[in-house]
């Protein structure tokens, strides 16, 4: 085991950091005591976790568990977000105390932000639910300052960490024997799987039986976010991603297997299988859209129509009573036909790209999308069922065996819908493969070249017209494939599943995840579908928040969560681009600001 590793930059700068910005004076004042402050903050967070949080039991039941618990009665009995706070606080103390840890200020800052947000979310929630500040301070003889102490602790931690001066993210260059790295990757992916399952099932399914599901979920997200930020600051995440890049094929296979194992975790319920299948449908469609928008740079605002075309074709070939064509073809054949038909429409919709560029093209695609919705609504040719939709589409299956059934293998009972889940995981994997293969080929490079500079691309001998239409065609084919699955899984295909807002949602998924990247579309689709499921309390504000989120993402993180290396700077303000300023020379390692 060779650990030839050293952080690239010294842990702490010798000179006292000089701060700029609004809090400069405060930070400068705090700088000499940064370590002390970090430890004090961590301790306060710990203490806060053990203090009572609420002065009385809320209507719907105690929140948090042992809400009015007194000092250290049961140190190992803390659960939920208080446990998270304990972990964050302890981690902050340990890291702050160990001066040898590189980038410790940056790590502690991540932990502190996590603790702050957890305390803030839960404190606010209790205040709002409990009907005023009395709920988290003192009321009728009882006191509960847990949230306030934890919040102060978190803030002090962040202050201490920021004052100490944020180091560069260290770069680790460990290489381990291949089999150690393989084991490491397997373990890490399994942990990710368990975390995903934990996030999905946190707080229960919600609804009247689990009235606190929304806030438990948000709080868990904040805690995980803090931990993630800390890990990222330590440079370990970068190292892990380098390791997984070294064993690319292995990682992909393990990831696929891990995804297929989700039904075995706590998230293996019929409900989450259905949600996951829907996410899969939109992820596959979003990857198709990613070819058009992310690679070829052609904005398509009517893209969901291809999903719809695929779904309607599949519905009509499914043998459903309401379908116009009374034949029932095998599912594999139906998928191919749906995909081909959608692809043909894709080529038609894409054909104006020969003459129209930019914004105008976006409008043309929007117009096509609207024409599709209107025609489907009017039951064009009797093919869409109009407002009556095409219901009762039979499940995929062979003979008596249906994909919608639950599966019993020995003593293991998997929920119904699990087979659809397996199917969509494989489908999404296949679509990802298509995307990756195309992106790294002559065709993919031509698309990117067209996106970057169409005239220069054509001067390089790229026949831009056919290549652009090909982007639409292939993208639409992928959406059509997803549509065929969608029709059978949902069992109903109605025109109103394919409205303009759905196109915008798909686009948002692509942008949120990161344009042009493979995991981006999947991540974006997951977020856009899981969040509304988990936060049904806010369902009235769902679209309002969605709209605002689009605005804010464009303003503050237009490159998305997983930015494409190529596009990183393209959607951001050129001034912020640090690599360009540092210039080339020895390839600069990216440094977090």
């Amino acid at each position: 085991m060779t650990t030839t590793a050293t952080p690239e930059t010294p842990a702490t700068p010798a000179a006292r950091p000089r701060h700029t910005g609004r809090f400069a004076r405060l930070l400068d004042a705090a700088a000499p005591r940064s370590t002390v402050l970090m430890i004090v903050g961590g301790v306060l967070t710990l203490v806060g976790a053990y203090l009572p949080w609420v002065t009385f039991v809320l209507n719907e039941g105690p929140y948090p568990e042992k809400a009015t618990l007194n000092f250290f009665v049961d140190p190992f009995g803390v659960t939920g977000f208080r446990l998270h706070l304990v972990i964050l606080g302890l981690a902050a103390i340990v890291v702050a105390a160990l001066r040898r840890i590189p980038a410790r200020h940056r790590i502690v800052r991540g932990l502190g932000i996590g603790a702050t947000v957890v305390a803030l979310i839960n404190g606010l929630w209790i205040t709002v639910e409990g009907g005023g500040l009395g709920a988290i301070t003192a009321s009728e003889g009882t006191i509960a300052f847990g949230s306030i102490v934890a919040l102060v602790g978190g803030l002090v931690t962040v202050l201490g960490a920021s004052a100490g001066g944020l180091e560069r993210k260290p770069v680790w260059t460990w290489t381990l024997p291949w089999w150690v790295e393989w084991i490491l990757l397997v373990v890490l992916f399994v942990i990710v799987l368990l975390l995903v399952a934990a996030v999905l099932t946190s707080g229960g399914q919600g609804g009247v039986v689990n009235p606190y599901a929304g806030v438990v979920f948000l709080s868990l997200l904040a805690a995980l976010g803090g931990a993630f930020a800390a890990l990222n600051a330590s440079g370990l995440l970068t190292w892990v991603s380098a390791v997984s890049e070294r064993h690319r094929t292995f990682s992909v296979i393990v990831l696929l297997i891990v995804a297929l194992l989700l039904p075995l975790t706590s998230a293996g319920t019929e409900y989450w299988m259905t949600v996951a299948s829907n996410i899969g449908v939109y992820a596959a469609t979003a990857i198709g859209l990613n070819i058009v928008v992310g690679l070829a740079g052609l904005l398509d605002l009517g893209y969901v129509a291809f999903l719809g075309i695929g779904a309607f074709v599949a519905a009509n070939l499914s043998g459903a009573a309401a379908s116009q064509i009374g034949i029932h073809l095998p599912f594999v054949l139906v998928m191919i036909i749906s995909s081909v038909v959608a692809g043909m429409f894709g080529a038609i919709v894409g054909s104006p790209t020969l003459r129209v560029r930019g914004d105008y093209l976006a409008i043309v695609t929007l117009a096509f999308g609207e024409i599709f919705v209107r025609s489907a609504q009017n039951n064009i040719g009797g093919l869409t069922g109009g407002a009556n939709a095409i219901p009762n589409i039979p499940a995929v299956g062979v003979g008596d065996f249906k994909f919608s059934d639950s599966v019993v293998i020995g003593s293991l009972r998997l929920p119904s819908g699990v087979l659809y889940y397996f199917l969509i995981v494989l489908l999404v994997a296949a679509v990802m493969l298509v995307f990756a293969h195309l992106k790294n080929s002559r065709l993919g490079r031509a698309w990117i070249a067209i996106r970057e500079d169409e005239d220069a691309a054509s001067a390089m001998g790229i026949r831009t017209g056919p290549i652009k239409i090909l982007a639409f065609l292939i993208g639409a084919m992928l959406a059509g494939l997803a549509g065929a699955f969608f029709a059978h899984k949902t069992a109903v295909v109605a025109y109103d599943s394919f409205r303009f807002l759905e196109s915008v949602t798909l686009l948002a998924a692509v942008i949120l995840g990161g344009m042009g990247t493979i995991p981006g579309a999947v991540l974006g689709a997951s977020i856009l579908f899981v969040l509304p499921e988990k936060l049904r309390e806010f369902s009235d504000y769902r679209l309002l928040l969605f709209g605002l989120a689009l605005v804010l993402i464009m303003r503050f993180r237009p490159q998305g969560i997983v930015p494409d290396r190529h596009r990183k700077a393209e959607l951001t303000d050129p001034d912020v681009e640090d690599v360009a300023k540092e210039g080339p020379g020895p390839l600069p390692t990216r440094v977090e600001p």
């Binding site: 009385f56 209507n59 009247v208 039986v209 219901p391 109103d496």
Partner: protein, 410 residues
């Protein structure tokens, strides 16, 4: 500079949020929510609910949700289900079949859900009903009117019930449409009728059933047009039907379109009555432009003649919901009560478990209840046997009952 502002804005937001909630503490049990003095030792049973709670149809959906909530609260106060507290879990289907399926799955995977009230749209029901039926969960819809939901795709030739757990308190298009046609042609003596619908399951179904019966009775359907559910300008349609000289217009759809349509008919010089189904019976219809003399059919006998309906309306008003109960309020209230009564009967003094579900289905099937819309029981398909319908007419700015009858006329 900008950060100062951001901090200030955040602070203001937080202060506002706290101020909003600072009015009262939430310490005491809310009235009605907790079951009052009833014994709730056996736990909580969940009444599921699926309808659009956001988007353009949310007005109807929220009215349905409130009506269900009312029934649940009343049951909790009256200790209708001994030993249990009932709780309403409302899911938003966004009027999309796919989301409705997801909501149904969510409810179906909760063992405490005794039944589901909803959906509003027939298309969403087509997605939700099979999922619920698979888990033997009763679904009672107050608003689905597509005949295929209870009698299968071949409802005209060979009716067969697709989902044994699906019931509805709404009459199907197959009853309401012809009933309206009988009145229009035979009583009101209209012979040239223009038929317009909004293309949705409810409206298009109703309009086509109406048109078929009207032609059978000897009237001429002089025009058959569609409008969009979100349209507001109907001048094109009106100019198109004008030369056909209709003496009445039948509209299949809901009041947000029907009201302005009626007004614009008159504006264009067509002073002929507009008739519609239960979807237009709402006071907003008149404020949106519905005229004196416009006609509508509604399910059940007029509430004025039914004490139970009056009781519902009063109780709804007293509960202080922020949205009106809208077109399907009374039917929803009845549906919820059917479910609750069924649960009470099936559970008895025992406990609720999956084994109780068969008993619950038969209890609902055997319902015999005097509801807000009249007597409620179900036929072998799960359709309501309450085929009493009433014709209303706008008089003095509101819908007044003209006559009550059944279809087929008996």
């Amino acid at each position: 500079m900008s950060r100062t502002r951001k901090v200030a804005a955040t602070a203001a937001l937080l202060a506002g949020a706290l101020a909003l909630t600072a009015c009262s503490t939430n310490r005491e049990e809310a009235t009605g929510g907790g079951g009052g003095s009833c014994d709730t030792s056996k736990g909580t049973l969940v009444v599921g609910f699926i309808a659009p709670l956001s988007g353009s149809l949310s007005a109807l959906g929220l009215g349905m949700k409130n009506s269900t909530d009312l029934a649940v609260n009343q049951a909790n106060q009256n200790c209708t289900v001994p030993g249990y507290r009932l709780a309403l879990q409302a899911e938003d289907d966004q009027a999309t079949a796919q989301i409705a399926g997801q909501a149904a799955t969510k409810l179906a995977s909760d063992p405490n859900v005794v039944g589901v009230i909803g959906t509003l749209n027939s298309s969403t029901a087509q997605s939700a009903a099979p999922i619920l039926a698979n888990k033997k969960i009763v679904e009672i819809s107050p608003a689905n009117t597509n005949p295929a939901l209870t009698q299968g795709d071949n409802y005209q030739s060979a009716p067969s019930r697709p989902n044994a757990t699906y019931f509805r308190t709404a009459t199907t298009d197959a009853i309401q449409g012809p009933f309206a046609a009988q009145y229009m042609v035979q009583k009101a003596g209209k012979k040239n009728i223009a038929v317009i619908d909004d293309g949705k399951t409810y409206g298009a179904g109703l309009a086509s059933q109406f048109a078929t019966e009207a032609e059978k009775l000897g009237a001429t359907v002089v025009a058959r047009e569609k409008v969009g559910e979100k349209d507001t300008d109907f001048s094109g349609v009106i100019a198109k039907i004008r030369p056909t000289n209709p003496d009445a217009v039948y509209y299949g759809g809901e009041y947000p379109v029907a009201g302005p349509l009626s007004k614009q008919l008159a504006d264009a010089g067509l002073n002929i009555p507009l008739m519609g189904g239960d979807g237009i019976v709402d006071k907003t219809y008149v404020s949106l432009g519905g005229r004196e003399g416009d006609l509508a059919t509604n399910v059940g006998a007029p509430p004025e003649q039914l004490p139970s309906a009056k009781a519902f309306i009063d109780a709804y008003a007293a509960a202080g919901y922020s949205e009106p109960f809208s077109a399907y309020g009374a039917l929803t209230y009845d549906a919820a009560n059917v479910l609750i009564q069924g649960v009470a009967k099936a559970v008895g003094n025992g406990t609720f478990s999956d084994a109780t579900r068969d008993g619950l289905i038969s209890a609902v099937q055997a319902t015999n209840l005097q509801g807000a819309t009249g007597a409620i029981s179900f036929d072998q398909y799960g359709d309501t046997t309450n085929k009493v319908l009433t014709v209303y007419s706008v008089q003095g700015g509101e819908f007044k009952p003209l006559e009550t009858g059944t279809y087929p006329a008996s």
